[in-house]
Symmetry: C2
Subunit: 365 residues, 2 copies
C-alpha cells in the first residue's frame, strides 16, 4: 500500500471539487501578489521612518525585509483571504481590505522566525543566512548580533501591530480581529516554549506553535473580519485544527526526507538539532533497544556525519515511522475535507480552503 | 554655587505652584494603587489562561509578574493620567478608563527591561535577579534561560497590546491611542539599538530610548485619549521633551553617584558596564590626557575593583562633569516648568505634571 499514492488521490479529488465550483485558479497568485506589494510598500515606508528617526534603524528594517521577501509561501495570507471569502462574497474589495491583516501575519511570522532561529542556533533560513547570523556578520560580535536580531524581531512585531491597527474594518469587527490576533500570538509563544523545553506532548506543541498561526488563526481572523456567525466559526475550526496538524506532520517529513534544494535547510537538519518530531516519537515506540540507542546517539549530535544521518533516515523509513506519519497526515487531510462538506460557508471560500489544503500537502518546502 | 541647592529650590517652587492649585496630594498614590490592582488582576487572569493553554506557560507569566510587581515607580502610569487630566476634568471615571492603558505601558516597560538586562548582561533589577538570570536558574542552562526570558518578554508585550486593545475609549480616540503606542514602541527599540552600538550622540539615544516611553509617549497617549487639540498636544510635547532628558540625566547621576540600597543596582554599575552616560561624555571633554586614559582603562572593565571605581567616581566629580550634568538637569527642569506657564491645559492636569516633574528630580532610584 503506497500512502503517498493515497495522498495524491486525495489531492486530485480536492482539486476536482474545486474546479467543479468553477473557481479561478489564479486567486492564490492574486493574493500573493497583493500581499507582497503591501509588504514591499510597508518596508519602504518603515525604512524612511527609520532613517528619519535614527542613523542605524534602517539596518534592522533591511534585515527584516531581506528575510520576509527572500521567500515564504504566504500560506497564511492565503488562509486569511480564504477565511474571509467563506463568509463574504466581496472579491476585489475583500482582497484590498484583507491585505493589511495578511501582511501583519507575514510580519508576525518573520518576528517568530528571527527568534526561533536564534533560539535553535539555526544558521540558515529560506536559502540565506538567518537574521542573527547576518547581523552578527554586520556588527562583528555574536552577542551583539543576537541582540540586534531580537530588536529586529521587535520591530517586525511592532510593524505587524501597526498594520493590524490600520486595517480598514468597522470598529467592532476590527476589535474582534485584534483580540484574535492577540490570542494567536499568545498561543504561538506558549508553543515555542514547550518546543524549547523538549516537552513530551508533541501534539500539543504542534497545536500551539504551528496550528495557531498557520491555519486556525489566519482562517479565523479572515472569517471574523467578514462578520462570521458562531456556527460558521465552528465549521472553520473543525477544518483548521486537522489542517494545522497535517501542516506540522508535513513539516516533520520534509525536515528529514525533504530535498535540501527545496527546503533551504541543510540535510538531516531536524535530526542534528535533535528535534522532537512526530517521526522520532513514532520511531521510539517502534524500534528495538539497539536501534533506539543508535537513534539516540545521533539525534541532537551537531557533529553527526552524513553517513550517520543517512543511517538514521533509513531506520526511520524501515521501522515504519515514516509510513505511520504519512497515514496520520492522510487521516487529518480527510478529516479536514469532511469538515467542509455541507458547512454553512460560501462555495468560493470552501474551494479556496480545499486549494489551501492541497498546497499544504503538496508543498516541498 | 551648590547646584543641588538650586534643584531643591526648583522643587519647592513647583510644589508651591501645585499646592496653590489646591490639588490633593493623594492623587499619585491613587493612580499607583489603581494601576497595581489592574496589573495584579491581569497577571491572575493571564496565569489562568496560561495554565489552560500549556503546562509550562504560567512559569513565564510568573517571571513577568515577579519583575513587574517587585518594584517600579509607576512614573509612566502617573504620566498617562496627568496627560489625560490636562484635557479632561473627569476625575474618578478618568482613572478607571486610563488604568488599562497605564498598565499596558508598565508591561511594555517590563518587556523592555527583560530584553535590556539580557542584552547588557545585567544580573540584577529592582533589587532581585533579572529575568534571564532567574529563568537560567530555573531551567539550568544560560542559553535556554535567555530564550525563556525573550519569550517572557514576548508575552509581556502581547499582554500590553491586549490591554491596549481592550481599553474603553471611543473608536477614533482609541485608534489614535494605538498609533501613538506603536510609535512609542518603534522609537524605544531604535534607541536601544543606538545604545547597544555605543552611538556617539547620547542626546539622540536619550530622546529615543528614555524620552519616548517615559514622558513624551505616556503624557501624549493620556492626552490623545482625552481628545486633546493640536495646540494642547504641542504644549504637552514642549513640556515632555525636556523632562525626558532630565529623567535620563538623573538616571546617569544615580547610576554613578546613587545609593546602592536605593537604586537596587551594584555600586559603580554604569562604569563597569562602560555605559556612554552624559557624565562620561562631559568628562571626556574636560579631562587631560592622563586622567582620560585612567577613565578609559576602568570604563567597561567588568573586573574593575571597588578602589578603581571610587577613583573614577572622584575624577567625574572633581573635573566638573557632575556639576555640568547637574546644571543641564536644572536647565531642562526650568524649561519644562516654563512650558506649562499659560499653556491651554486644565489646572489640575498642569499641577499633576509639576508633581511628576518633582518626582523625577527627587527620585533616588
Amino acid at each position: 500500500l503506497d500512502l503517498r499514492a493515497i495522498l495524491r488521490v486525495i489531492c486530485v479529488w480536492q482539486r476536482d471539487l474545486r474546479e467543479r465550483n468553477g473557481l479561478s485558479n489564479h486567486w492564490t497568485e492574486q493574493v500573493i501578489a497583493r500581499v507582497n506589494a503591501r509588504l514591499a510598500s510597508v518596508f519602504a515606508i518603515k525604512r524612511e521612518h527609520a532613517q528619519h528617526a535614527s542613523p542605524h534603524a534602517a539596518e534592522l528594517i533591511d534585515a527584516i525585509a531581506e528575510l520576509t521577501m527572500r521567500g515564504g509561501k504566504r500560506l497564511r495570507s492565503v488562509a486569511v483571504y480564504a477565511g474571509f471569502r467563506c463568509i463574504s462574497s466581496a472579491e476585489e474589495q475583500g482582497l484590498e481590505r484583507i491585505a493589511d491583516v495578511a501582511a501583519a501575519i507575514e510580519l508576525l511570522q518573520s518576528y517568530l522566525l528571527i527568534q526561533d532561529d536564534w533560539m535553535d542556533d539555526d544558521d540558515e533560513r529560506r536559502g540565506g543566512p538567518s537574521v542573527h547570523v547576518a547581523l552578527t556578520r554586520r556588527y562583528g560580535q555574536a552577542k551583539l548580533g543576537a541582540s540586534m536580531a531580537i530588536l529586529a524581531g521587535d520591530l517586525a512585531m511592532g510593524a505587524a501591530f501597526e498594520l493590524l491597527h490600520g486595517a480598514p474594518f468597522p470598529p467592532l469587527r476590527a476589535a474582534e480581529g485584534r483580540a484574535a490576533f492577540d490570542e494567536m500570538h499568545f498561543e504561538v509563544v506558549c508553543g515555542q516554549q514547550l518546543d524549547l523545553l523538549g516537552h513530551a506532548d508533541v501534539s500539543l506543541i504542534h497545536h500551539l506553535k504551528t496550528g495557531s498561526y498557520t491555519v486556525r488563526g489566519p482562517v479565523g481572523l479572515g472569517a471574523l473580519l467578514a462578520d462570521a456567525s458562531a456556527a460558521q466559526l465552528t465549521a472553520l475550526m473543525q477544518f483548521s485544527r486537522p489542517v494545522g496538524i497535517a501542516f506540522q506532520l508535513r513539516d516533520d517529513l520534509l525536515g528529514t526526507f525533504g530535498d535540501v534544494r527545496s527546503t533551504g535547510k541543510p540535510a538531516g537538519h531536524d535530526l542534528r538539532e535533535g528535534k522532537n518530531t512526530a517521526l522520532v516519537a513514532e520511531a521510539r515506540s517502534l524500534l528495538g533497544d539497539e536501534a533506539r540507542a543508535r537513534l539516540d546517539a545521533v539525534l541532537g549530535n551537531q557533529a553527526a556525519t552524513a553517513a550517520e544521518l543517512k543511517e538514521i533516515t533509513e531506520i526511520l523509513e524501515k521501522c515504519g515511522a515514516r509510513a505511520r506519519v504519512e497515514t496520520r497526515l492522510a487521516e487529518r487531510v480527510a478529516e479536514a475535507g469532511r469538515a467542509l462538506d455541507g458547512a454553512p460557508l460560501l462555495p468560493d471560500g470552501v474551494a479556496m480552503l480545499r486549494e489551501l489544503l492541497s498546497r499544504i500537502i503538496e508543498r516541498d518546502r
